[in-house]
């Protein structure tokens, strides 16, 4: 079963599969594409925001990605899933957007959900640091994003896709048009750098 079939199988009964919406969008049905926006908006936003750590940039890029995807939907042949295709557009567009910037944008972070304080990983961090230096949510939030921004674009992309979005190596390789070996080595190198950056938080 390939990815498109898997996605179709995971759909809520009555929900139109991506492939059908894509076919309608290719015929010029903007409403069908809007349905795709609604379906993939959150995932693409997380990816772009993870890569930029700047909510204004993330929103701008997200809008441009969907418009670009709509304008080039005629070239989508359906050999890969829509999700792979739009992820690739999002990654390339984000990297190009950042390259065009003459200087790096400052962090502009989204709010954190309060339920993080009940997460076992966050609770373990408090124990690890001891009562003298409790880790605040905002401090951790900033540290995580700053650490990610120390990575190069290609390394950050792999970390965000794999460790945050849960995309498997093979899918990442398809999206970035490189080998799984390259994905693995980038991930290994990126994690080593992140471990140095976040050594106060990783036991």
């Amino acid at each position: 079963m390939d990815k498109t079939e898997k996605e179709s199988a995971a759909l809520v009964p009555g929900e139109v599969p991506d492939a059908d919406l894509v076919a309608r969008a290719q015929m010029g049905d903007a409403a069908a594409f809007e349905a795709l926006i609604g379906r993939w908006h959150e995932k693409i936003y997380s990816l772009v925001y993870g890569m930029t750590s700047n909510r204004e940039d993330a929103q701008d890029i997200l809008q441009e990605v969907f418009i670009k995807a709509y304008r080039s939907i005629g070239r989508f042949r359906g050999t890969a899933s829509f999700y792979t295709w739009i992820y690739r557009i999002a990654v390339n567009h984000t990297i190009n957007y950042r390259k065009k910037r003459t200087r790096q944008a400052a962090l502009s972070l989204n709010e954190m959900d309060d339920s993080i304080e009940k997460d076992p990983v966050f609770e373990r961090l408090q124990v690890f640091h001891g009562p003298r230096h409790e880790v605040s949510v905002s401090e951790l939030h900033e540290k995580l994003n700053k650490a990610l921004q120390t990575l190069s674009d290609k390394h950050r992309t792999v970390v965000v896709m794999h460790d945050m979005e849960g995309v498997p190596h093979e899918e990442i390789a398809k999206m970035l048009r490189c080998s799984t070996g390259t994905v693995r080595s980038r991930l290994f190198y990126a994690r080593r750098l992140l471990q140095q950056e976040l050594k106060d938080y990783v036991p």
Partner: protein, 155 residues
């Protein structure tokens, strides 16, 4: 299992296979590496608590509708793009014309020899060797233009 195999297999794995688990129990280096990697993954996963702005989807939809309503710009054929191509074409044409239909220049010839009349040098009488009296030779004759003079090297 070799350490290199373990590292390759465990790098992207959410859960370890039985072979990997057996290796982790034997090799402390790989165990530490795996634990560190897992802790880092868990830490990064906390980013999922970041909230997506509530109006993000609406903004995206709005901008999409505006873009769809505008006439789609055919990539590469905007006025500026067209002008750029026209200028580049004209430049290439000029280059080609310069090389192909330009006037043929005559072959380069060496400059003709200039006829010069040179006045005959006046015949000079050869003065002959200068003979000076000297005490250097037994005959008292020194051959040379002028007799030697003392030079003050301490000057």
């Amino acid at each position: 299992m070799k350490c290199s195999t373990f590292r390759k297999e465990s790098l992207g794995a959410r859960e370890l296979t039985e072979a990997c688990l057996a290796h982790v129990q034997q090799c402390s280096d790989c165990r530490d590496l795996y634990e560190q990697g897992r802790a880092l993954r868990e830490l990064l996963a906390l980013k999922r608590y970041e909230k997506i702005p509530g109006d993000s989807l609406d903004q995206t939809r709005r901008s999409f509708r505006v873009a769809v309503a505008e006439p789609a710009e055919t990539p590469g054929y905007g006025v500026a793009q067209l002008l750029r191509y026209a200028l580049a074409g004209a430049f290439v044409m000029l280059l080609v014309m310069n090389f192909s239909v330009g006037p043929e220049l005559p072959a380069i010839q060496p400059p003709a020899q200039e006829a010069r009349s040179v006045a005959a040098a006046p015949a000079m009488a050869f003065p002959g060797p200068y003979l000076a009296h000297s005490n250097a030779e037994p005959a008292g004759i020194q051959y040379g233009p002028l007799p030697s003079r003392l030079v003050n090297f301490n000057y």
